[in-house]
């Protein structure tokens, strides 16, 4: 069964995933909207930057984050100036890492959803007197809702599953930075296979159920609806 440390790891994990997902949606939405509409030359560059975590080993990302978030790094110094301590080995640091690590999993589905709407509904809204902000909230957002479900679930699940980055910048402090994936690793290291089974099996089941729900939702809100 779950011991006290496992339970706190579960809570930290859920908190981290929830906070990261919320930030990711807030950041990713305008970013994806801009990417789906722009013809700017910087687009390819930005898209490549966002997609980097897909191909980089998490340890590479984690290494650079460790340096950036540490007491000598730029983000670490800003944080020290504001709160008196660097970001590395803190929950806030984990959030920063997770947001960067999971960014492509949120931006890409959103960008696809916005692109598939096309410019026509937005133009229609403009001719009906809707301001740009109004058009975004009353036309683009509702039409892209499946994209939001996918983005939120993928962002959340990917944050729950991250290991390499957390290992580098988190430091496995129980109740603060020790997440499930690290807890499993620690159990295996200590040869506590029973505990590892509980956590690993739980994650497996939860992930599977989540994906089943997403896929069945996506079928209902098919993107291909409305074509004649």
């Amino acid at each position: 069964m779950l011991n006290e440390f496992d339970l706190s790891a579960l809570i930290v994990t859920l908190k981290l995933a929830a906070v990261s997902t919320a930030i990711l949606l807030l950041l990713g939405t305008p970013l994806a909207w801009w990417l789906s509409r722009t013809h700017c030359k910087l687009k390819a560059l930005l898209e490549a930057l966002i997609a980097l975590p897909l191909v980089l080993p998490p340890t590479v990302l984690g290494f650079y984050l460790l340096i950036a978030l540490g007491s000598n790094g730029p983000l670490g110094q800003i944080s020290q100036w504001i709160s008196g301590q660097p970001l590395a080995f803190t929950f806030a640091g984990l959030v920063v890492g997770s947001v960067i690590y999971s960014l492509p999993f949120v931006v890409q589905p959103l960008q696809n959803a916005f692109s598939s709407i096309g410019s026509r509904p937005i133009e229609v809204a403009a001719t009906l007197g809707a301001t740009p902000v109004d058009r975004f909230f009353t036309v683009a957002l509702p039409l892209a809702r499946t994209g939001f479900v996918t983005a939120a679930v993928l962002g959340f699940a990917h944050t729950v599953g991250e290991f390499g980055v957390v290992l580098m910048i988190g430091g496995s402090i129980p109740g603060e930075t020790q997440v499930l994936s690290i807890a499993i690793y620690d159990h295996v290291e200590a040869l506590e296979y029973g505990n590892a089974h509980w956590l690993a099996g739980g994650l497996l089941l939860a992930s599977f159920i989540t994906l089943v729900v997403v896929y069945s939702l996506n079928r209902r809100f098919s993107l291909f609806r409305g074509s004649e």
């Binding site: 026509r120 229609v124 403009a126 001719t127 409305g226």
Partner: protein
């Protein structure tokens, strides 16, 4: 009121360069082959495309060198080629979308649009539960519900099948008759233009090649509109008496009277009559022993060749114009000259309303 418009757009394979004045009265058709820039011009009027140019509507400047009024601030309704209804809203939601954002519209404008397009029974449906024709009717009602100053229509019938086209046309005619909103109507169909338009602007390769009153434009021999198989003239007329004995209706116009076998017309109604050039033959003397009822005195206005064997004759009848397509041989035998007085025998007339 009118639109003053000078627009210039240069794109890799296309350029638009127009300088025109569109009178905001009735329906103005922008006519031209595909790729002539009709849609680009209409989109420019709506502010959906940015061009370098000058655009003044009534007394308000919409575009100049230093100023660009964005689409949502222009008092327009826009009907796209495809109905483009919002999929996430019901029919009612679609129609209310513009109405809620309009500063000048009110409930009665919206209700009138719904009534005019006969869509009240569809209001609670989803957009994807409608037929193509119903969808386009909803799209037109949606555009009307914000009480626009101008209604811009981009080939609203082009995406529809023949059956749905016939379903929508009467509604468009109704808009013309019942509402006081000027309409700019992009089309590549002469029939639609003849059916609906008061003014016609001819666009070719991004330039305005001619513009003017529809009946005059259709009979201008220097334009391609008056040539070819379906060349026809258009006459505005008023329904007169009904002959109960023969079941015939008389229709009055500036040059006399037409007789047509048709009942359901109410006296005093305005109708459009379309007469194909090949249905009009010419005689020097008025024939009396003939089955043709519609014989009118005409004066030759202009003559032009139509292929090798035929000539196209433009005729004046009262204040109206007729086209007649006859052989070159007949023209010689009749000794046709500009100013010559003749009789036109009209085999068939089509009522467009």
């Amino acid at each position: 009121m009118s639109i003053e418009c000078r627009l210039k757009t240069v794109r890799p394979n296309f350029s638009l360069d127009v300088d025109l004045s569109i009178s905001l009265k009735g329906i103005t058709a922008i006519f031209g082959p595909s790729g002539s820039g009709k849609t680009t011009l209409l989109r420019a009027l709506a502010g959906l495309e940015k061009n370098n140019g000058y655009l003044k509507v009534g007394e308000v400047i919409w575009e100049s060198e230093s100023h660009f009024l964005p689409t949502h601030l222009r008092s327009i309704g826009y009907v796209f080629q495809e109905p483009s209804l919002f999929q996430h809203l019901s029919v009612r939601g679609n129609i209310e979308y513009g109405y809620k954002r309009s500063k000048i519209s009110n409930q009665s404008v919206m209700e009138k649009a719904i009534e005019l397009l006969q869509i009240d029974h569809l209001l609670n449906r989803k957009a994807d539960e409608l037929s193509g024709g119903e969808r386009q009717r909803v799209a037109i009602a949606r555009a009307l519900s914000c009480a626009p100053g101008i209604l811009l229509m981009d080939e609203p019938l082009a995406s529809l099948g023949e059956k749905h086209k016939k379903e929508i046309l009467p509604f468009l005619e109704l808009l013309h008759a019942k509402l006081d909103i000027p309409i700019i109507y992009v089309t590549h169909s002469v029939d639609e233009a003849a059916y609906l338009a008061d003014q016609l602007i001819l666009l070719d390769k991004g330039r305005v090649s001619a513009s003017g009153e529809i009946a005059e434009m259709l009979t201008r021999l220097d334009l391609t509109l008056s040539h070819g198989e379906r060349a026809a003239s258009l006459i505005q007329a008023i329904v007169g008496d009904y002959d109960e004995n023969y079941k015939l209706t008389y229709i009055d116009f500036s040059g006399g009277q037409f007789t047509v076998p048709r009942k359901q017309l109410s006296k005093g109604d305005r109708v459009r009559i379309r007469i194909e050039a090949r249905d009009v033959s010419l005689t020097i003397h008025q024939q009396s022993e003939t089955s043709i009822l519609n014989i009118l005195p005409v004066i030759v206005d202009e003559i032009a060749d139509e292929g090798d064997a035929q000539v196209l004759v433009k005729l004046r009848v009262g204040n109206d114009l007729l086209l007649s397509c006859i052989t070159r041989k007949s023209a010689q035998q009749l000794d046709l000259k500009v100013g010559k007085k003749l009789y036109a025998q009209i085999k068939s007339v089509a009522l467009l309303s």
